[in-house]
Structure formats: structure tokens, C-alpha cells
């Protein structure tokens, strides 16, 4: 009897330790501790002004899929994916997918020149103070979030995207 009680006590204690340590390890490996926005999270709302001076608010796009891209004119991989984004934007805009290409911390002049050069027609919100960039915890750019019609992030990637990938992504968030 006494031995049995002892075994139960030991098993419970070891189980608690194992769970605590396991959870810590899981968090250490998989969780980003800097509070950056991850796949599965709700996309934090933001409001910025685009190149034309219009207010752009993420929550206004509820019901649509949003291809949310963070980029800079000086970043080569961002430059490479821009023409593909523009191409797919023309196709998918009618199907309820919007592109928001948030520029990270650059001036109007630089961004406008860039947009003209690549004939970009999707909204380019300017995050001059990088407040949104920081709120999303963006590390390297480009970083793209796929936001579904309910405002949930279903994918996050920091790769330079190919035309094919962009197409697949658009299909994914099409409402």
C-alpha cells in the first residue's frame, strides 16, 4: 500500500516535470519570442497612407483575401517578385484578392519612381515610421503574409516568390 502510494507520487511528480520541460523546449524551438506575427494568428489591423494619399486600412478588406507584402525599393529579391505580383494582381483582383505592398520606411519620391518604373497598380501603403513593420515583427524583407477573408494569416514567407508560387497563393486566399 505504502509502496503503491509512493509510486503514484513519483509518477505524478515526474510527469509534471516532463510536461513543464517539454513545453519549455517546444516554445524554445518553435516559438518566436519577439512577438512577431505568425501563421495562424489574426492579422493585426493597421492604417497607412498610400502613394496617392488615400487611407488604407486592413480591416476594410474583410471578406477579401489579402496578399500582404512588405518590401523596399533597394531590396533586389523584392524587385524580382514585383512584376509577377502585378501580373497576378490583374487576374485575381476581380476574384476578390487584394494586394497591399507595404513599403518599409522609404520616401515618397523613391517609392513613386519605383512604382512608375514597374507600372504597379496595387495600393502601396507607406510605412514611413516603420510602426506597422515593427508591429508585424518583420525581419528580412520581402516578407509576405497571406490573409484570408476572415482576417486570419494562413501563410507567412520570407522568400522571393516565383510567378507560380504567387499564383498558388492567390488561389489559396481567393474567397
Amino acid at each position: 500500500m505504502k509502496k503503491k502510494r509512493r509510486l503514484v507520487f513519483r509518477s505524478i511528480l515526474l510527469a509534471i516535470i516532463a510536461i513543464a520541460v517539454g513545453y519549455t523546449f517546444y516554445n524554445n524551438v518553435f516559438q518566436d519570442r519577439n512577438g512577431s506575427v505568425q501563421k495562424g494568428n489574426k492579422a493585426p489591423d493597421f492604417e497607412l497612407t498610400d502613394l496617392q494619399g488615400n487611407k488604407v486600412r486592413l480591416s476594410d478588406y474583410k471578406g477579401k483575401g489579402v496578399f500582404l507584402n512588405f518590401w523596399g525599393t533597394w531590396c533586389k529579391p523584392c524587385q524580382r517578385e514585383m512584376p509577377y505580383m502585378q501580373k497576378e494582381y490583374k487576374k485575381y483582383q476581380k476574384q476578390g484578392v487584394e494586394i497591399l505592398a507595404v513599403n518599409v520606411g522609404e520616401s515618397n519620391v523613391s517609392v513613386k519612381n519605383f512604382a512608375d518604373r514597374f507600372h504597379l497598380s496595387f495600393p502601396i501603403p507607406l510605412d514611413g515610421s516603420r510602426e506597422v513593420t515593427k508591429a508585424y515583427g518583420i525581419g528580412p524583407i520581402p516578407t509576405t503574409f497571406l490573409v484570408d477573408k476572415n482576417g486570419n494569416i494562413i501563410e507567412k514567407t520570407s522568400e522571393s516568390l516565383t510567378n507560380q508560387t504567387i499564383k498558388t497563393y492567390m488561389e489559396k486566399i481567393k474567397p
Binding site: 516535470i17 489591423d45 523596399g72 525599393t73 522609404e106 520616401s107 519620391v109 523613391s110
Partner: protein
């Protein structure tokens, strides 16, 4: 540590898998083993710098080999460059924690029981075994002995005319108290990895700028900081007190790094990016060693950048006469696309490269968005040249398309300093502090006091005396000497002296 005759729990039986794990960790030998493995691993980790201390812009895969040769490469390949965050090092720390818990339960409980139910009358062989021991034929007054012992703060238990005098038993709990402190400390360290417990982010903020403090957005709102001024003070090399030391080094010696800021708070209704409605919380001077604390957070002065370009002034001039037709002031973070100088003179900005470089194709480009090396393409319009003349202007660069009549000349520069502030939230701190305090108390309790016991027994008309302490025999002997002098009790002999003599 003597366990007072009561068997250590784990050694009494050995059956199931759970018991095997338990018994493994309940061994002090295993515990010491874990300590030594951690110690050796930690030492190896200091041979070369950890990844977090190497320059931020280098590639660790090549850095270690380049800097430290083959040993460096081995160091890197074995993962010692990120030792203290590696899974196996954390596993070792976890093992230490488990060992602490199990060892303490396994030994503390029986020890407690044994000391609680001590018998006053002990067996002859027990008495003889004690290091301090004597037998005397002289009878003495027990009352006198007891008085002396009480005077020395002994607690006395009597049974059949035998005496057990004991003091500072609490010192025996020291190890268990300090182990508890360590366990709490390790739990605190573990909790850091739990969501919401810990934030560590850095904010670069220019003078005059107001910025959201990253990581401080909660349901109650968000904190903002405005940087009024970054101050750097240097020691004066002519200062008599320190002049010798200061003149030994070529560099300037810093005296103070400080950011003068105002802390604001915005309502939770505020949407990120939107111009916030700020409520002032307080003004503060943040210095190294003097962080600004607010709510759960603290804001630290950690780095700075002096004299970052902020505004550049240029004049439109006619080359032949050198006459100026006005000055444009370009905000390098937000330049305008057109600057009108009146009377038909204007300058259009066609291209802007904040940090100019030539890319792989030899095309003008920018390294990033920080205006460390600004360059522009301007189109200058004058009544004389209504179609405009194009020129590329950079720092000490002026390239023209064809032959221009007009040019832009550099006429001034405004700079600003940038402060780097680290924002920290660490909700584990109270737990860590409590763990540390308990640990210290336990260590002091266990090491600065000694558990002393004296047995005095009457056997066959003889008086038997034995004394024991868990450490500091020298002190016990001195005390016994005093006791025997004051009470007439015979002074017990140190049996270990006899052995060695």
C-alpha cells in the same frame, strides 16, 4: 551528510521504470556528475566567442574558421558557438533541476523524520563511534551540566537520567532550503520561454522623432517615446585628476550616454500606423545604468549613432556667373518631388538614392533606406532653359547629361543623432529574485551554523559522553572545553587524533 541511520528511500527497493528514473536522479553522485558536465561544457563554450558576441554582419559558417583556424571550425561544427542556447545544454540544466528536486525529497524527508524522533538513550556502540567521546568514573551534578548547556543555548531532552543536548538543528535544513531556492530560480528561468513573460526589442529613434515602442502594445494601449536629444559627453583630457590615464589612450573616453525622452501612452482604440492620440506619461533622461521603468517595462540606453544626415541644402547656380537663384532644403527622409524657387526657377527630383552605390550592372542604386550617402537626379528649370537640364548629384559627385548652363551646389547639411533604446519586459524577475533570496538564506543557514549534539549517559555507574557536529569540529571542541570547565564534566577525547598519532 549523515542520514541518521534511516535508509535513503531510493535504496530500499527498485522495481518499475518510474522507480528506475527516480533512483537514477536521487543519487548525489549523478547530481555531482551533472554539475561537472555543465561546468566543463560551459568552460569549453568560452574558448571562442559565442555567436551573439561576434560582429553582427559576418557569416558564422566562415567566421570561426577564418578567425581561429581549424580549432575554430571544430568549435563551430560541434555547435559550441551557440552552446548556452543549445538543446543539450538546456537539457543538462533541466537534468540538474530534476536531480535537485528528487535528491531533496529523497533525503530531506527521512532526515526530518530521523531528527524528529531522536532517542535520547543511545546504544553503547553508537556512543563509542562518535569522534568526541569519553568515559568517566566520576559522578557529577547533572543540574550544573544542564545549566551550563542551557547557557550555551542547547535544547535538552531527558530520558532515564540520560541527556541529549542539541542546538542549531535548523542548520541541517540549509541544503534543502537552498535547493528549493535553486529550483524556484530554474522555474523562473524556464518561464521565460512561456508566451507573454518576456520581451526584448530594440528601437532606433532619431532626435525629434516620436515612435511606438515595440512590444508594448497590449489591450490597454501602446507606449510611445519621443527622443528630444541624444547627449554624449567625453572626459576632458586636460582634467587634472585623470589626465595621466586619459593621455595613455588615443581615443576619447566617454563620460555619459543619455537620451532625453518623453514617454507617451495611446488608447487601445488606436490602430497601428494611424496618427496616435498621445497622452504624456512623463519626461525622462535615460542613461546607461539608469533605465526608465514604466508598467511592466524598462527602457535602456544601449547604443547610438552620431550625426546621421538629416537635411541637405543645395543652391541652384548659373555656372558662368556663379550667381545663385535660391536654395532648396531636402529632408532626406521625406524629400519633395518638386522645389519651386519662384520667378520661373524650379528643381525637380527625378531619382533619389539615400545610400548610393553602383549595383552589379553598374547602375545607380541604393544600399538601403538610410541616408548615409545621399545622391539625386535633378532636373533644373530656369527661364533660360525651359526644357530643363539633368544632373546627377551626390557627395563629391556631379555628372551631367550633355553640357549644362546651371548646376546644383552643396550649401549645407543638418545632422541628427540617433539613440538605440532597448525595451525589456521580464515577468520572471520576481520569481528569480525570490529563488535567489531563498538560495542565499539556505546556503548561509547550512554553512554558517553547525548542528551540535551532546549525549550524556549513565551506564553501570560510569558517565558516558559523546559529542557530534556536522562540521567545524574545532568549534565544537572549544565549546566542549568551556562546558567541561564550567560544569566539571570530563572533556571528551578526539578519537581521530588518537588514530593519526
Amino acid at each position: 551528510m549523515r542520514y541518521e541511520g534511516s535508509a535513503v528511500r531510493s535504496q530500499t527497493y527498485n522495481k518499475t521504470f518510474i522507480d528506475k528514473i527516480w533512483n537514477f536522479f536521487s543519487s548525489v553522485k549523478v547530481g555531482i556528475g551533472i554539475i561537472i558536465v555543465i561546468l566543463v561544457a560551459a568552460a569549453i563554450g568560452t574558448i571562442f566567442p559565442q555567436e551573439m558576441y561576434i560582429p553582427p554582419n559576418v557569416d558564422p559558417t566562415t567566421y570561426y574558421k577564418q578567425e581561429y583556424g581549424t580549432p575554430g571550425q571544430i568549435f563551430y561544427l560541434l555547435g559550441f558557438h551557440n552552446l548556452y542556447g543549445s538543446w543539450w545544454f538546456l537539457l543538462l540544466l533541466a537534468a540538474l533541476g530534476i536531480s535537485l528536486i528528487i535528491v531533496s525529497i529523497d533525503r530531506g524527508v527521512p532526515l526530518y523524520r530521523a531528527l524528529k524522533h531522536q532517542r535520547v538513550t543511545r546504544h553503547e556502540s553508537f556512543m563509542k563511534r562518535q569522534r568526541l567521546f569519553a568515559v568517566s568514573d566520576h559522578g557529577i551534578s547533572f543540574e550544573q551540566v544542564k545549566k551550563v548547556l542551557l547557557g550555551k543555548r542547547y535544547k535538552i531532552k531527558e530520558d532515564n537520567g540520560n541527556i541529549l543536548a542539541e542546538k542549531n538543528r535548523f542548520s541541517r535544513w540549509g541544503p534543502y532550503v537552498n535547493h528549493t531556492g535553486l529550483i524556484i530560480f530554474l522555474i523562473g528561468a524556464m518561464l521565460r520561454f512561456f508566451p507573454g513573460m518576456y520581451t526584448d526589442q530594440t528601437l532606433w529613434i532619431r532626435e525629434g522623432e516620436t515612435a511606438a515602442i515595440p512590444g508594448t502594445k497590449t489591450d490597454e494601449g501602446q507606449y510611445y517615446a519621443k527622443n528630444h536629444k541624444f547627449v554624449m559627453e567625453l572626459y576632458n583630457k586636460k582634467d587634472k585628476q585623470f589626465s595621466n590615464a586619459l593621455n595613455q589612450v588615443n581615443n576619447e573616453v566617454p563620460k555619459n550616454y543619455q537620451s532625453n525622452v518623453t514617454l507617451y501612452h495611446a488608447d487601445p482604440s488606436h490602430v497601428v500606423g494611424e496618427a496616435p492620440q498621445l497622452k504624456k506619461v512623463k519626461d525622462a533622461k535615460i542613461k546607461v545604468n539608469e533605465p526608465l521603468a514604466f508598467g511592466d517595462y524598462a527602457l535602456y540606453q544601449v547604443d547610438f549613432k552620431l550625426n546621421e544626415f538629416h537635411r541637405m541644402n543645395l543652391k541652384l547656380e548659373k555656372k558662368s556667373t556663379g550667381k545663385s537663384f535660391g536654395e532648396i532644403k531636402i529632408n532626406l527622409f521625406n524629400p519633395k518631388s518638386e522645389y519651386n524657387l519662384g520667378n520661373g526657377y524650379k528643381v525637380k527630383m527625378i531619382e533619389y538614392f539615400p545610400n548610393f552605390k553602383l549595383d552589379e550592372d553598374g547602375q545607380p542604386a541604393t544600399e538601403n533606406s538610410v541616408p548615409d550617402n545621399p545622391a539625386f537626379v535633378f532636373k533644373m528649370f530656369t527661364p533660360e532653359t525651359p526644357k530643363g537640364e539633368t544632373a546627377f548629384i551626390g557627395i563629391r559627385k556631379n555628372v551631367e547629361a550633355g553640357k549644362n548652363k546651371y548646376k546644383m551646389t552643396f550649401s549645407g547639411l543638418e545632422t541628427k543623432n540617433v539613440s538605440a533604446l532597448t525595451v525589456k519586459k521580464d515577468r520572471t524577475l520576481p520569481i528569480i529574485i525570490v529563488g535567489g533570496i531563498i538560495f542565499m538564506l539556505g546556503v548561509v543557514q547550512g554553512l554558517y551554523w553547525n548542528h551540535r549534539r551532546i549525549w550524556i549517559q549513565q551506564k553501570n555507574g560510569q558517565l558516558w559522553i559523546a559529542a557530534h557536529t556536522n562540521k567545524n569540529w574545532f568549534g565544537l571542541k572549544k565549546e566542549m572545553q568551556a562546558i567541561s570547565q564550567e560544569s566539571g564534566l570530563v572533556m571528551p577525547v578526539d578519537q581521530s587524533d588518537e588514530k593519526s598519532a
